[in-house]
């Protein structure tokens, strides 16, 4: 290596790519290492919903902040990021859930996120394929959808323009606070960032990041079949409970006219095979909400491993103590939505500035 970078980032998923983008914009010299191609990890398997989510106050803050940062970049994004301003509809499954719709709107309003409570007729008008009776929904018009590999690559391209170097196809065997090692090669740097997603615990043994498997399915092209990302209001409960396998209704219209159907959560170790029983439950749940899906053609199914932490918040900062390498991982099912916000917090901490958000809930060493 002819020069030693300020920062070496392990992982060219959305998280490492966003970090490279932000750090090079701050003027730092950055190297990015990945054993495969950009976005070849879970980023290539995720849905790309840029969503504000309120499982906890910290999560709400982080998702709102990140969405705003991405919106600011929107005019510059390339077509390959496939940014679509479809908004989200959180669907209530019964009268009983209407209270939760109101509560959600209150929480969003406090975080400065616009949303609108819809009654059943409104929902039916907006999304005629949804099964009646409909009770209501919360519409979050500012949520968007991207194509995650496209966005990751866009981040990396910007970083490379500012001098970042990519080492693709290079597997890191181990890392320390100031160097990473691949076989007999060592890259030394001012700082090391472990952004290896679900695999980050392999490079930092003991890090509380575990794989949480998810299944998705994509259809052929059915333009106009649905217009919003449709999520059942009960999704959060399903995402929250770490102890059990779960499925929830989550439907995403792609700009191609295709529809992605999700989603499932499983603690299944590293077995990436399609689990037919989970697939069946997931589809059954989706068809309960949108009966017309049953007749659409599927072209492919796949799985991915979300990098999960016990408290469902990402890890940002040095670990296991202040002298350790930096961690940027544990984004679970929100890594696309929160990559930019977490990268900005990382940069602020590295440059010893005060982040806009309180970083305490995300401190890596909390775990």
């Amino acid at each position: 290596m002819d020069r030693s970078p300020d920062v070496v980032i392990v992982g060219a998923g959305i998280v490492g790519a966003a970090a490279a983008h932000v750090l090079t914009a701050e003027g730092l010299a950055v190297d990015v290492v990945d054993r495969g191609a950009p976005a070849s990890g879970v980023t290539g398997a995720g849905m790309g919903h840029i969503v504000v989510m309120d499982d906890s106050p910290a999560q709400l803050q982080l998702t709102a902040y990140s969405r705003r940062l991405l919106d600011e970049l929107a005019p510059e994004l390339s077509a390959s990021c496939e940014l679509s301003r479809c908004g989200t509809l959180w669907i209530a499954s019964g009268e009983a859930e209407l209270e939760a719709v109101e509560a959600k709107q209150g929480a969003y309003a406090e975080a400065g996120i616009a949303s609108e409570v819809l009654d059943g007729d409104d929902v039916a008008r907006l999304e005629p394929e949804l099964r009646r009776p409909l009770f209501g929904a919360l519409r979050v018009p500012g949520d968007t959808v991207v194509y995650p590999p496209g966005l990751a690559r866009w981040f990396l391209d910007r970083a490379v323009e500012r001098g970042a170097r990519l080492h693709l196809g290079t597997e890191i065997d181990s890392l320390g606070p100031r160097e990473v090692r691949a076989g007999t090669t060592t890259i030394s740097a001012g700082a090391v960032v472990n952004a290896a997603g679900p695999w980050s615990g392999r490079l930092s043994p003991g890090l509380p990041v575990t794989p949480r498997k998810g299944h998705l399915l994509i259809t052929g092209r059915y333009s106009g079949f649905c217009r919003h990302q449709l999520v059942e209001l009960g999704y959060l409960a399903s995402a929250h409970d770490l102890s059990q396998d779960s499925v929830a209704f989550n439907l995403q219209p792609r700009p191609t006219g295709q529809i992605i159907i999700g989603s499932s959560r499983q603690a299944a170790g590293w077995d990436g095979a399609i689990d037919r029983s989970v697939l069946q439950k997931m589809v059954a749940r989706a068809v309960e909400f949108v009966p017309g899906l049953a007749g659409l053609d599927v072209v492919r199914t796949w799985t991915g491993f979300r990098p999960a932490t016990p408290d469902k918040l990402p890890l940002i900062g040095p670990w296991p103590d202040e002298d350790g390498p930096w961690i940027l991982s544990g984004h679970e099912g929100l890594g696309i939505a929160t990559a930019l916000g977490t990268a900005q917090i990382l940069a602020d901490l590295m440059l010893e500035r005060r982040p806009e958000l309180d970083p305490a809930p995300f401190r890596a060493a909390r775990a």
């Binding site: 950009p38 496209g150 697939l279 989706a286 599927v298 072209v299 199914t301």
Partner: protein, 430 residues
Amino acid sequence: MTEWAASVVVVGAGPAGIAAAIRAEGAGRSVILIDQAQRPGGQIWRHRDRAALPRQARSWLQRLDRSSVRLLTGASVVDAEPSSRLRVDLGGRPLGVRWNDALVLATGSHERFVPFPGWTLPGVVGVGGAQALLKSGMDVAGMEVVLAGSGPLLLPVAATLSRAGANLTLVAEQAPLGRVIRFGAALWRSPSRWLDAARYRAGFLRTPYRTGTWVLRAEGEDRVREVTLTDGDGERTLPCDLLCTGFGLTPASELARLLGCATDGWRVKVDGVQATSEDGVYCAGEACGIAGAEIAILEGEIAGLAAAGDRAGAERLGRRRPPHDRFVAGLAQAFRLREELSALPAGTTLVCRCEDVPLERLRDFGSTREAKLHTRAGMGPCQGRICQPALQHFFGWGIDSVRPPLFPTSLSVLAAPEEDESPPPPTSIT
């Protein structure tokens, strides 16, 4: 989901699958034979009038008619679950098919295409595709037709086109004459192949058969009007209403790969009795190497016996098999694609026609998966069946993973719960 079961289940009712089913049944097993086409016979036999088929083909089809093999046509295997069950799309309804003892994969091959400027114009079709269209009654009488590509498949299709009254102006084989002759000479072991070749050639005597000649581009506004070919020196442009093009065959190993069977490139790896790396799963015919119908039949017989537990019988038959690997390799060698074909497509030539991805967008990538993630190449309904062999040819890239479904199928077929009582599918099996 309704479920049927048999001791031996065979997927693919081409020569290999029929032979496997008959042999397994002959050994006393219950057999289900599945094919997505409406008629049995596979790529080579199903389109034709029975009466016009060679004697051997007629005899196999008759044996199938008379057998107790349960034949399921119009049935696509869309998924294979690890628990010895296939999921079948039968006219839009899900059907589970379970094998109690053995599964035989006889899924044949796909045509290989090499993209060149104009290959996606209407009026440009695959060589095998043309054969199928002709058999199902396409009228080519009086049409200006050019056949350009590679491999032994050009001959029978040329003969059929001629017979159907097409004005077949040229048959262009990209392989040089020397290689074609050496391959022909190596056929001395199987005189029937010589006879076939001679019969086919006799079928289009008035048309020149040019080796060392390949297509450069097809042109036309709304559809193909002319085609330009070269022999490396000069160029020649011919008027053309129908251009048939195909550059050999690629083993159809998707189902095998979904089941985890080991492969060598596209070929499914098998041992002396056609057993794959997976317990109880056998493979026969072109899915384990392109070698033609005669070898496909023999492999089917071997696999059928082995699947029925008659290992000794299978081994005995196996000894009759010509040195298969040598033949497969010889065929691949004789008709291997010349370097010049890699330079055919222009930057704007589509390589993935499902997703409209031109060559120039693919050059920056290093692997099938990377290109796919960033360009959508191979993400469409054909799931890379057409563009992956082309990408392999152009860039030397590997083969992407297979995921269910094997063919686009409705959600209700792919994900119908096993325990659901669904009404039996509309077709009854014979």
